[in-house]
Amino acid sequence: MADLAISIRTYLLTKTAITDLVGQRIYTDILPQSATLPAITMSKISTRHEHQLSDFGGLAHTRLQFECFAATRATANSIAEAIRSCGIITQKGTLTSVDIRGVRVEDGQRNYVDYPTDGSDEHRYVTTLDLVFDYTET
């Protein structure tokens, strides 16, 4: 079965509202060293599987966290808002081999600052957004 996170990344990269901001820079879990900003990281926070008495229930729920990195707070927030409003919430059906049954915002925008470790004054502003995806599994 296709990986949900890969499917979602593929979907987001089809949205100009997102690629206009970050290009192809949607990374898994962590930013590369000296990454060009703005950029997004995606992490799989948790997955819950439905069960019946004799087998899996055929439905799973995965929480994906999107961290939007930018040089300004406004840009970081804009990226998170672009993810929220790109149409992903209304997705239902097959998305790159994953049968999505529902999407919802589990936790809206949260802000924090990534402090520099190189002695510079160049903070990275991070806006976080969590979505939960319901999808069928075998």
Partner: protein, 145 residues
Amino acid sequence: MALTGDTGNGATLVFAAGMGFGTATTSLSVISITQGEETVGTVDVSTLATTDCMESIPSDLREVGESSASFKWITTANAATLPGAAGTVTITWPIRSNETTAASYTGTGFITGWTPPSFQNGELQTGEIKWKWDGDTGPTYTKAS
């Protein structure tokens, strides 16, 4: 001595053909099974000479309460048609590694009700079904072997 005990994972529920699901036996994708209580009535045999406590004897016949199960709703499967005929209902325990035949509880009964799923974001569609053991045959518990 090794500790024993088991969870409900692996238990199955099967309704015979003709009980309202059509002409085939029906095995639901059960999520939980709640079995009815088996009881026997009491007969008061107190007399005027009875002191201290009422005296009782068991009645002649046992009674088995209504049982129910929740199951994953499959949109391509038949829903129950009521009223359905009585038929054999079989609940089979999950078999353990030292058993060749799982424990079971089986008898004739009829479906008394079913509930289609409610719809809620992020929630698996589940239905519920209820049945009454009719007492014609069983229900009987057979231990594992």
